[in-house]
């Protein structure tokens, strides 16, 4: 698989905020709550800073050296003051801790009716897949779809407005981290285990996704987009975005190879002649096969098509009838592309 990473200047999402000093848009259910706490801590910090640095500056001016005969204060401690400045900040710290803890628990508990989306991280590309829609990963174009080069396509997470979404994420190589600043969510994507994050998008728009765990050369380019759409429009858009079709300038055999990968054919059918659960595709096309009922036939276009749609009608001798049917999952042109791909495996 060729990693198609996106240079940051080509991501094409609109700026998240008007001023670089402003807070980000509050585009998810978590965002506004988190910002409130953020502002609360900021106010406490500013007050503390003014008190501490104010006292420092006041003392710096008032007690600057005036003459060699200066006498200084003999104060060495003040128990009441010291207890005061230990206890009062502690009370504020407890408030912040509890507040943050409650929010964090909410951010860690997805509701039962959340829509599931799968995210896969791989150097240096995100793959977004929707279990409830047949088809492939969703990609989008920066501008006009017709002029879009395959390498310019951006992995895109489409989410419906006001519906909870749960991401189940996994990495195939090193640790990545999936971060949507506008939603205030982030979670490491770890190889060998699944991690989750959830949110409800509450603002329509297009927002950047960053990888925030250093993952090698093109870490900075491991980007994606989130596009928030009204629910009805969302379903149609996902259907279209995940639809698999022949790309412009792509050979049918290459399209077939993509289908072979996406549909998991490789789990049973190898390309190198070795036998797995089913026959290898190497040299399959046109070969005469012995069937379980004793008859034999040549593996031509019609036989391959039938084997995809009704796999157990004619099983090659030596194999168990256990392939699932792809009836309704693959379109005619996709079956044709697969046949072309198999034909090319000489």
């Amino acid at each position: 698989m060729i990693a198609t990473f996106i240079p940051p200047e080509k991501l094409g999402t609109p700026p998240m905020s008007e001023s670089p000093w402003a807070l980000l848009p509050t585009a998810s259910n978590h965002a506004a709550a988190l910002d409130t706490l953020y502002v609360f801590i900021t106010i406490l910090c500013v007050i503390s800073m003014v008190l501490i640095i104010g006292a420092q500056l006041y003392f710096m001016v008032k007690y600057r050296k005036r003459s060699d005969a200066d006498r200084t204060s003999p104060v060495t401690h003040n128990t009441k003051l010291e207890i005061g400045w230990s206890v009062i900040p502690s009370l504020f710290l407890i408030v912040i801790f509890v507040w943050g803890e409650v929010q964090f628990m909410d951010m860690s508990s997805p509701p039962a009716n959340a829509i599931d989306v799968r995210i896969t991280g791989q150097k240096w590309q995100w793959t977004v897949e929707y279990p409830q829609f047949p088809g492939g990963p969703s990609l989008s174009c920066p501008g006009d779809a017709a002029e879009c080069e395959p390498t310019e396509k951006t992995p895109t997470l489409y989410v419906p407005l006001n519906e909870p979404v749960r991401l189940t994420m996994n990495s195939v190589d090193v640790i990545h981290s999936f971060y949507i600043p506008a939603f205030r969510v982030k979670k490491d994507v770890v190889p060998g285990r699944y991690s989750n994050l959830w949110f409800t998008a509450i603002e329509e728009g297009e927002f950047p996704v960053f990888c925030t765990e250093y993952c090698g050369d093109e870490h900075s380019s491991m980007l994606a987009k989130v596009i928030v759409l009204p629910k009805d429009k969302w379903a149609a858009t996902v259907k279209k975005a995940t639809e698999l079709k022949l790309e412009e300038g792509e050979t049918m055999a290459h399209y077939g190879e993509r289908l072979y990968g996406i549909n998991g054919c490789a789990a049973c059918h190898t390309l190198d002649g070795s036998t797995k659960v089913g026959p290898s595709f190497k040299g399959l096309y046109g070969r005469t096969e012995q069937l379980t009922d004793g008859s034999s036939l040549a593996a031509d276009d019609n036989y391959i098509r039938e084997s995809i749609l009704e796999p157990n009608a004619k099983v090659v001798a030596g194999y168990a009838p256990q392939m699932p049917s792809f009836q309704g999952k693959l379109k005619d042109e996709q079956i044709t592309a697969l046949i072309e791909f198999i034909k090319a495996q000489k």
């Binding site: 007690y63 200084t72 900040p89 929010q103 628990m105 979670k187």
Partner: protein, 540 residues
């Protein structure tokens, strides 16, 4: 305190023995301290120049003069050199070595030969880390996260072995200091009469001895995984990558305090001497150093709130992290209170101490956003974290280190530096530092991730401010270098006690004689009992 002995007829430690060999095989803690000082300052310069390269590359959103690969190697080297070869050994091994026996009234550390061995082990480690440059470089970040570090093609084994060996130097120095503090105090130097610098170094030494072996084991396991393909951290071999993070931060969080506690010690000395005041809350400051050292072992999981560790663990780590804030706040407030009723002299060391109060307070307060579970989810691994730890590490340790360097420079070399140049350097460092890293808090809450060589155009404006700030900071630091070098060559001869300090290092010749004291001093008062203090007024 005993009477100063200024009428030294013995030569100073700098000229007591002559020739390069007399330095290379010296067991004098002061000479070893100076050798450490030269080595750590050299690596500070190297890693600082790398930082300027990084900031300059970030001036525009796209790629300028560094490829992604080069950028990754440069930020890795910047972090690894700064942490392992500069900050960790800078204050304890360089200044601590020079000052600890002097401040305790001892003739040397407990194990002088072990001390020299620590230095050479450090040198071997430094050579190994630098060798990675010619062996395919290193691109893992200073944190060596697995499975990236178990799979990348760069010189990970050489680098981790380098850090592994540097750890032994750290452990041996720590061990030496713990024993020295326990056994070598001059008569009358009770625990309650030790300068706070010693308390800080002592707390640091305890962490060095207890935490560093964990890092050593972790890095050794990483090497074993790479060489023998035994699955420990790499899931492809059946390991657990998050386990590495637990191991790594179990050392590296306490290591943050190895880096910053000695800075606390320096600031306690600078503020008292230059304001002619007894420290406010001696016991609170001393014990909070020890409290921080203990609690620091229990907070490592706050680096991993979004790593996939259990939520309950996150809650516990967050709570304990808030607990560290309390002793830290006590220290800052005590330093400010020390200024009350003083007679403040605005010398260069005092300017740095004043800057420290500002920068370290910002560093400490911004830690609140990151110890809070929910806000950390947003800010984790963004520039907010970069800004926060630079405010703590540079704004805390390095600023204190620079102040200490000016403060003890006359003691070390017997020369004065130019005060005006020193004060200008402090101003440049203050402005440059705040512009560079203050801006990065805003980049962070805007979502800018760290370790990106290219970024979305919307971040360009803030990145440019930050980069310009880094150039100002660099000018300030070069001015420090020139001021000190010029002082060394052309400076006036320093009086025995230019600042009127009363702790023991000022009770011997400047620079000290080879064996520190003609007679072991007998101490009858505290290290902050300045003659200007008007003890009588307390009675009214």
């Amino acid at each position: 305190m005993s009477n100063p002995t200024n009428d030294s007829v013995e030569p100073s430690y700098l000229v007591a023995k002559k020739g390069l060999l007399s330095w290379l095989i010296t067991v004098d803690h002061k000479r070893i301290g100076l050798m450490y000082l030269v080595a750590t300052l050299f690596f500070f310069l190297v890693a600082g120049l790398l930082a300027i390269l990084l900031r300059t590359e970030l001036f525009t959103p796209g790629q300028d003069f560094m490829s992604a690969q080069t950028y990754n190697q440069v930020f890795t080297l910047h972090g690894a050199i700064m942490v392992f070869l500069f900050i960790i050994p800078s204050v304890p091994a360089a200044m601590g070595n020079f000052l600890l026996p002097l401040m305790l009234g001892a003739r040397d550390v407990a194990f002088p030969k072990l001390n020299l061995l620590s230095f050479y082990i450090y040198c071997i480690a430094a050579v190994m880390l630098v060798l990675t440059l010619v062996m395919g470089s290193l691109d893992t970040g200073w944190t060596f996260y697995t499975p990236y570090s178990s799979t990348t093609g760069t010189a990970v084994i050489m680098a981790t072995l380098g850090v592994f060996i540097a750890g032994f130097s750290s452990i041996l120095t720590g061990l030496n200091f713990v024993v020295t503090v326990h056994k070598m105090r001059a008569p009358g130097v009770t625990w309650n009469r030790m300068p706070l610098m010693i308390w800080a170094i002592y707390a640091t030494a305890l962490i060095q001895v207890l935490a560093t072996p964990i890092l050593a084991i972790t890095l050794l396991l990483l090497c074993i995984e790479r060489v023998l393909s035994i699955g420990i951290f790499d899931p492809a071999l059946g390991g657990d990558p998050v386990l590495f993070q637990h191991f790594f931060w179990f050392y590296s969080h306490p290591a943050v305090y190895i880096m910053v506690l000695p800075g606390f010690g320096i600031v306690s000395e600078l503020i008292t001497v230059h304001s002619r005041k007894h420290i406010f809350g001696y016991r609170a400051i001393a014990l909070s150093s020890v409290a921080i050292a203990v609690i620091s072992f229990l907070v490592w999981g706050h680096h991993m709130f979004v790593s996939g560790q259990s939520e309950l663990a996150g809650v516990v780590f967050s709570f304990i992290t808030f607990a560290v804030a309390v002793p830290t706040a006590i220290k800052v407030l005590s330093w400010v209170a020390t200024l009350y009723g003083g007679s403040i002299r605005y010398t260069t060391p005092m300017w740095y101490a004043m800057i420290f109060l500002w920068t370290f307070t910002v560093g400490g307060l911004t830690g609140l956003y990151l110890s809070t579970l929910s806000t950390d989810v947003h800010l984790h691994d963004t520039y907010f974290v970069v800004a926060h730890f630079h405010y703590v590490m540079v704004g805390g340790t390095v600023i204190a280190f620079l102040g200490g360097l000016f403060h003890w420079f006359p003691k070390m070399f017997g020369r004065m530096y130019n005060e005006r140049a020193g004060a200008i350097s402090a101003l440049l460092v203050f402005i440059g530092f705040n512009v560079t890293f203050g801006t990065q808090f805003f980049l962070g809450h805007q979502g800018m991730p760290r370790r990106y060589y290219a970024y979305l155009p919307e971040y360009e404006y803030l990145h440019q401010i930050s980069t310009v700030g880094s150039w100002v900071l660099a000018c300030g630091l070069f001015l420090v270098l020139f001021t000190l070098l010029a002082g060394l060559k052309f400076g006036k001869h320093a009086p025995a006690n230019p600042w009127g300090g009363v702790s023991l290092e000022w009770h011997t010749a400047t620079p000290p004689i080879e064996h520190n004291f003609h007679h072991i001093p007998h101490v009858e008062s505290g290290p902050y009992d300045f003659p200007e203090i008007d003890w009588d007024s307390a009675k009214h």
